[in-house]
Assembly symmetry: C2
Homo-oligomer: 447 residues x 2
Amino acid sequence: MINSGNLALFTDLYELTMGQSYFESWNVKASFELFVRRLPPNRGYLIAAGLEDVCNYLLKFRFEEDDLEFLRRREFKEEFLDFLRGIRFTGDVWALPEGELVFPNEPIIRVTAPIIEAQIFETFIINAVNFQTLIATKASRIVNSAKNRPIIDFGSRRAHGVDAGLKAARASYIGGCIGTSNVLAGKIYNIPIFGTMAHSYIEAFPSEKEAFKTWIKSWGTDTVLLVDTYDTLRGVKNAIEAVEELTGRNELKGIRMDSGDMVTLSREARRILNAAGFLSTKIFVSGGLDEYVIDEYLSRDAEIDVFGVGSSLVTSDDAPKIDIVYKLVESEENGKLTPRMKIAENEKVTLPGAKQVFRIEENGKYRKDAIGLFDEELEGEKKLVQIFRNGELVYKLPSLDEIREKARTELQKLPEEYKRIRNPATYPVEISRKLLELTNKLRTSLV
Amino acid sequence: MINSGNLALFTDLYELTMGQSYFESWNVKASFELFVRRLPPNRGYLIAAGLEDVCNYLLKFRFEEDDLEFLRRREFKEEFLDFLRGIRFTGDVWALPEGELVFPNEPIIRVTAPIIEAQIFETFIINAVNFQTLIATKASRIVNSAKNRPIIDFGSRRAHGVDAGLKAARASYIGGCIGTSNVLAGKIYNIPIFGTMAHSYIEAFPSEKEAFKTWIKSWGTDTVLLVDTYDTLRGVKNAIEAVEELTGRNELKGIRMDSGDMVTLSREARRILNAAGFLSTKIFVSGGLDEYVIDEYLSRDAEIDVFGVGSSLVTSDDAPKIDIVYKLVESEENGKLTPRMKIAENEKVTLPGAKQVFRIEENGKYRKDAIGLFDEELEGEKKLVQIFRNGELVYKLPSLDEIREKARTELQKLPEEYKRIRNPATYPVEISRKLLELTNKLRTSLV
């Protein structure tokens, strides 16, 4: 797999400079929790994704000699480099499984480990969960806007690098897409792959109809012909004629349109196809789509059966980042993990201590969540499960299809008002009385 | 290096389905040009970046047996798979070197090769150039807004995957950042790396001053102390006291603030530092920055010396994608490369034929560009240079520092009105008379 190489140095320098200082003072045990401070604009929920990459990273984590040599030239001390040479992940991890819903302030992942380890992992853990969560969520919004019509990820070329192209394919499959155009993602993740032809194919031939005929000779009629290279409706007619002239039948899997007034063109194309007896031919649309555009097209009765969504999906362009952080919540004091928090004049206050998320269901729908201390017993289903114990993976990683199904069923339980693509309602997340008391006590002692 | 692995399958499925069809009909020679249809919002220029990755990709391109096995299971034919087994890049490439300015419709890269090859490369080439161009451009805007104060890339954790974190560090260095927090990027690209401590470090100690003292014992005073964990101005005083108590001197490289009202706090912090004799101590600011925020801070006389910019830089969050495409401009007809174009009812018309960019300078400033046919001789400097000839790299890849210097000098030649961070003027790009005539002739023949 791509990026399975050594990523120990994929970390911010301060994790290592802090590491050396802890090494020389106290490498205490500590817990960090990954959580979202607030939801991105127009989001009423997030879908957790990225945990599998975090697990693989922790399992393989180690510094190689050339990493240490690089650090040696950056004035790190020999004793600390010796320590790094032997470092492996030895801690505990609790997490929300992939496909679960996430709301603000809820721990997504908690890492408990000697503080040097836990800090070095910060950069990668945030990177992995931020991006896939962003894209799984964006995909679910697009799927929702399409009212169950299939969505295919067409975004590899505009994703932010190769790794993003692959992970976007995985995350958008979790969020409900039926597959991707990216062949390597199909190979790595065993996701269905889709695609037929580009405009350049049509242009490479003397005429559009000749291009269609050559194509059908190679691939048959269980294929999708791109009809908008020159004149879209003439393209539909050329597609029909090419099929009829070569096969004498009126069977073709689909046509695709990538430009123009999709509402009018799709309705006209449907009419032309139906009149020629191509009743089962699907209309695929791509080009500049997102949940807002799809919602508009369908509200205007566009005749579209399948959507290919690219740039907007893989960059989550209306919200390309999540305010996601990894904060110290406990550290060892006299041999015991003790709650910690950050408090500044501004609003960046964190909830101290190791926490659990309790989700309360009523009549098959989620009603509210509570965030409590980890050892509290509150109403609702406990959402964080153990992933690592003493450095050992104790969690069976689900298959991608299981994760996708989890996301689907969880979204079904979430009432509609939280899933609106614009101005969704705010899902209630309560803080338990004990956690509030602890927060207030610590706040008072620190100020 | 990361992602140097086999990326032949990092392509959209349609590139391969078209490939099989070309294989069975005519694998003619063709030229594709990569260009930007329009600039993203608030951009008056782009800085080309990503060519080095394209070169490395083309040099290493090949299908491995397990790639072919994957395609075999997807119903590709054995003869075509045999052909793919032997495929190598055999074509010509002309390109704008990295660091050059780019305007709409100007070819950034032209690939001339048998059409199967040229198509398979499309996905990776767009992916590589889109992202790094986006980030180099964003970085240059941020550097510009900071009026030559240093900018450091702090974005790895919010970049879209690992590859994006690394490439963003490279591209933002091209765009004028002085370095990155990402250690692996520092190692791979030999970019300066920066970073000291996080809030968690301060919180792990019983008091802020004790944390500072422990830090100084590890790292001395040529370091940056993070002062906003509890109360920013008290943090500044604690930093001063920690230095004075341990060293008896008033020397400290910097303090960093990551939250709060940066204008007021930075001015107060400067006053406190100066009053204590810490005149050379720099004020570093991070947290929620971009070119718009930095411009506002400085217009309100914030006392900030260095900026660390994260999420907005590495996601180019106000414009996370470029409308960049790779279009057929020529294909072989009777053994000769003949101009091609796409023309539909909408505006997605492409300029046909192989092209060159001519940039006209007057008194040390760029005045306008012309796009002409490749063999035209027009006024101005020809910007596309040859990179590959018959599959062989004939271009000496410049060092990253040379690319960065190129971007700096090119930006200096671009008049200010095109560099405004909001509503920049439109740089004039003319189409040569011959190219216009060809476009009109082809349009007429196609419609």
